[in-house]
Symmetry: C2
């Protein structure tokens, strides 16, 4: 066998990472001509957005596709980012696994250092042509120009032109920015999975970006900026100790510059205080003065055991950049206008959690009704770190989470209570993380990490519940209204007929009608005028008795001021929950609650979320029973003093002090 | 912006491929504890099978999992392969992207040079421990032992032990082979996606391998060898010119050692003869003497255009190793025995095709009925290069192809004619290729390459048709039998009653019954005895007229001899198609066709595939109408001379000469 082993040994060789991906380009997402164009645009636009945001610049991005011949296209993507230092251009575009964001623990789109150089490589494989990079870093200097190819045998960049002095040009009208031009084989389509769709979905979750797209026929499409503030810049953090692996701990410990194990814990990790570091060292049975690099396997095992036995604060949120509930709603409204949806559920943004030491956060929003088709599976809009995912839906934990929720409970059709539900809805799902666990380098699907799936399901259920509240309200109102109409039409006819037969006068009916209806009917409306949202809630007592109950509403926490609330609420909590203790309403009487809100953009508040307590829930039409998690006990504690319950004399009641807390998030 | 660009530039760095996968281990399939164990076993077993087959050794593989503590397991995989030369051990196990099969164009399991070193890396990340490799290449020499870790910062192997002289041991009772021991965190389960299931499915498609598995509870499971011949060894081929990309052509052209472009075409590619090379060079407008390395982009473009304008022979099949129809059936029967399926469709192995220069071949088999649950989606057994794929079913072209076939036409339930069908069936799908286009390094799903999907759908439809033939036969027989019984029971009663009423004798009924039935009824059976398959086909003419038609059967091409065929067929084709021209059968008569086959293993033939021609298909029960692709015209050409149609006098009619061709494949 020696000769066979020797023979095989001769064939063993190193494989360059470029060579590997040259042969396995489907792993990078370049597995069809249609996909290739989308992938290329996506990689270039993701980089542009990352560069702008890192530098505090509101992104202006220009994307253009020109048809060169039957198969070949020329892609141009230009941004107004900070530009790239000329010496770095070759490595950034001509070398796989090279980048600035891989070692940083914070949310960004590009984290692998593969995407754009892979695109350059795909372009040269299919057309034989280099990428052309133009980059300007200062307003008063010329821009550098380089023609770059990937040397796949060695995974190094080849600069193939232009010869000086043509390697610098004046770039008039541009202060700074980068232009990437790549020729590549592709096929342009304008359907569901397309460059246009990718840009449209990118606009939904990046309302701060302005984008222009010129398609191969020369038509221009604009995706204007919907919000002129950048998301807060994300910050690098240190690894979070939750879910850390032994090998990773040993790598960190051996590379540390700290002088002992206690300092190592305190300085090289997030959320470990001096006190906690001491406790961990003690639990591990180590001495504080032990030097981490000299510890052996058993000592590291003891240290990891001790680290896993204590509780940590959740990671700080500044490494993450969720879209936020208000902007999800705004983005969806902005881009789905033409579908005229009946209802946008208030989106859900969950608090950050950790998987394997990586902080992450999930967000969900649902759009319902209008002209969204009702006989088809719901559309799932998947996003990871603000990037739309158009392919591999079936392999993605975002899809799996939607499939594993029983949507029948929330008013959608679903055979057997699992799988993608049917109905007139679109579900937006976003995962933001310092490290999104993609299933491949193509970044098309997120792996089924149990911690992420659990958070997604919680968010989806919460959003489902909000949808159900809306559907319930709609349904009970429709049903009760029908009953009303029947009762009010038929009862008088019966009364007339009976009176005629027995030869007596027609009896008065209003008491009988209220007895039959026996409901408290709530009609509510939100309008927007003069930069204020006006809320009006009319309560009709169609019962034979006097009724008294508490009314609760949820207003967006972003509202800066609550004005003219009439009557005055007994409680306004910092998450936007408002409570009124209503005075008794007599049978057949009507009572009106109203308020005005300032500081919200129009589309951020268009449907009231109303709840009632202290009353038999089946008697209320137009408000849901108060959920258990409202913590009614706390109501008593923060109750407004009785003296304040008197009718206010000023025309404008300013609740600034109470609502200040609303903006603390 | 210069300062920002400078600042960003400082963060740009190279990322080692190990570091990349250390952070993105989910891409390698190590995204949960359960999966980690399966992945590890799979990588080690795949390597063992490849090494044995390359060296012409029938594989004997031993797999063992020992529980070390709550999370940690120790995996041992031992083979009887050729062993690994000691100096190569560190790179093979301690370096990602290092291997012997990446540059070879032929079918093998491991092609990436990532799997086993990634497993070593996962083991060290989770347990801090090195892999232990023992390898013996010669019977009379000691075995080398090495403890290996991956240096993730540099993607180089670290040899961490053992110190000499312990780096060599005697390995008694072993002539040659490799033992891999890796400690890793995992979770052992015994359900659908498990180590056991992986080994079981591996046994189905590798009937030549013998495997033993000892689970963490010490229980031993055997997967005995079902077939003691190795699959034919696969051979390296040169790239096939179909679907070649410009960049790849240029890379090949620049690296060629040939002296001119004509020689380059002829020597560096498959299926280009001297004549064809000349034609291509001429079409490209090049001169034969042009040297490939000095050609420019335009010349390469012209060359590629010319190469794409001519037709090529399909790639030679010796680079591929399909399982084959007979062994698929055998493998399935061997491992699905306990389900007692009612029917195994004759499997379909398609001829090789090419995608992007890579030869590939697809195979499909369907198992039906028995105790396979009928109210659930069918089970899809996915395989690539004889390796079972247990995860990412939704992302895989093998699944997509099943979903895109309208199975309602083939007797399975399917809502809307797409999606995974429901019914008591299991569908085996195998893709063999010199380069399987996996969607990620975890090799869990095959990318949706259009050429592959098209072939799969053809194979699935063909197999579906075979299933339908069986189901049709079963159904029409059941239905006609019911009719028979009713007619034969009720008609005499009616006749008696009527005769009694009118006071006349009961009339003879057999003519009436045949008139009512008006069918030709075929009963057939296959039995196996004394190493021979005996086939008997009884034909009953339940029509009022004399009937004459042709009977056709398909026998496995592997059969070596066709004996005692009575009457003698007019044609035996080399793909196993046999045709009889039957003599007229009188009304209510019965006629029997019989034959015996030699050279088949018992499970290779258990149901006749019968067709009829020259008769109204609706009159035949028990045989299907002859499909159009049987090429009946050819029948006339190869017809056996009339003289041979006389009854044979020898007891054994030897058709060796005619059936010789059966084994040419």
């Amino acid at each position: 066998m020696s000769s066979i082993a020797e023979h095989l040994a001769k064939k063993q060789k190193e494989i360059s990472v470029s060579e590997f991906f040259e042969r396995n380009r489907q792993i990078l997402g370049f597995d069809s001509l249609t996909k290739a164009l989308i992938m290329a645009v996506k990689e270039a636009v993701d980089n542009a957005l990352d560069a702008c945001e890192e530098s505090g610049i509101l992104p202006d991005i220009y994307v253009r596709l020109d048809k060169v011949d039957d198969k070949e296209y020329r892609m141009t993507v230009e941004d107004n980012g900070p530009g790239i230092v000329p010496t770095m251009i070759p490595n950034v575009f001509g070398r796989l696994l090279f980048g600035s964001r891989f070692h940083a623990i914070r949310q960004s789109r590009g984290q692998q250092g593969i995407g754009i150089s892979a695109t350059v490589m795909y372009g040269q494989i299919t057309t034989g042509k280099p990428a052309r990079i133009t980059s300007k870093t200062e307003a008063d200097k010329p821009a550098a120009v380089k023609l770059i190819m990937v040397n796949t045998k060695h995974n190094t960049p080849d600069i193939v032109g232009p010869a000086p002095p043509n390697d610098y040009i004046m770039w008039e009208g541009k202060e700074h920015g980068t232009r990437v031009e790549i020729n590549l084989n592709g096929r342009y389509i304008a359907s569901k999975q397309s460059v246009f769709e990718y840009l449209k979905q990118t606009a939904i979750v990046n309302p701060h970006a302005s984008m222009t797209f010129v398609d191969p026929d020369g038509r221009t499409f604009s995706f204007p900026r919907a919000h002129d503030k950048l998301p807060p810049a994300t910050k690098d953090i240190k690894p979070h100790p939750e879910g850390l692996e032994l090998g990773t701990l040993m790598n960190l410990g051996r590379a540390t510059r700290t002088k002992n194990v206690k300092d190592f814990l305190q300085s090289d990790f997030s959320r470990i205080s001096e006190r906690l570091a001491k406790e961990i060292v003690e639990r591990a049975g180590l001495r504080e003065s032990t030097k981490a690099p000299s510890m052996d396997l058993e000592q590291y095992k003891a240290l990891l055991g001790a680290m896993q036995s204590v509780k940590y604060l959740a990671p700080s949120t500044d490494c993450l950049s969720p879209i936020g509930e208000a902007l999800i709603r705004k983005g969806l409204k902005n881009d789905l206008e033409d579908l005229k949806p009946e209802f946008y559920t208030p989106p859900v943004t969950r608090a950050p959690k950790v998987f394997g030491g990586n902080p992450f956060q999930v967000e969900v929003g649902i759009v319902y009704g209008g002209s969204i088709p009702s006989d088809q599976p719901v559309t799932i809009l998947r996003f990871a770190n603000r990037v739309p995912l158009l392919y591999q839906q079936g392999a993605c934990v975002l899809t799996k989470s939607v499939e594993s929720v029983d949507w029948r409970r929330y008013g959608l059709e679903q055979r057997g209570g699992s799988g993608i539900p049917f109905g007139p809805a679109m579900i937006l799902v976003h995962v933001a993380s310092t490290k999104v666990p993609f299933t491949s380098e193509a970044k098309e699907a997120v792996a089924a990490i149990p911690e992420i799936q659990a958070e997604l399901e919680l968010a989806l259920r919460e959003c489902g519940r909000r949808l159900k509240v809306h559907l319930n309200k709609k349904e009970t109102k429709t049903r009760t209204k029908a009953k009303f109409e029947i009762v009010q039409e038929i009862l008088p006819l019966i009364a007339q007929k009976s009176a005629k037969i027995v030869g007596k006068p027609v009896p008065p009916l209003s008491g009988t009608i209220t007895k039959i209806m026996n409901v408290v009917w709530i009609d509510d409306a939100v309008s927007y005028e003069k930069r204020r949202h006006r809320v009006r809630v009319d309560i009709y007592n169609y019962t034979p008795k006097q009724m008294r109950f508490n009314l609760h509403a949820v207003i967006p926490p972003e509202a800066t001021t609550l004005l003219k609330a009439e009557p005055r609420p007994v409680q306004v909590k910092d998450d936007g929950k408002v409570t009124w203790e209503l005075k008794p309403i007599r049978s057949t009487d009507k009572f009106t609650v109203s308020m005005e809100l300032e500081g919200l953009e129009p589309e951020m508040y268009d449907e009231n979320e109303l709840y009632a307590s202290g009353i038999d829930p089946s008697m209320i039409i137009g408000a849901d029973p108060l959920p258990g998690d409202w913590d009614v006990a706390r109501l008593q504690v923060t109750e407004v003093p009785a003296s304040q319950e008197e009718p206010a004399e000023e025309e404008e009641v300013d609740y600034d002090e109470q609502t200040e807390a609303l903006n603390d998030d």
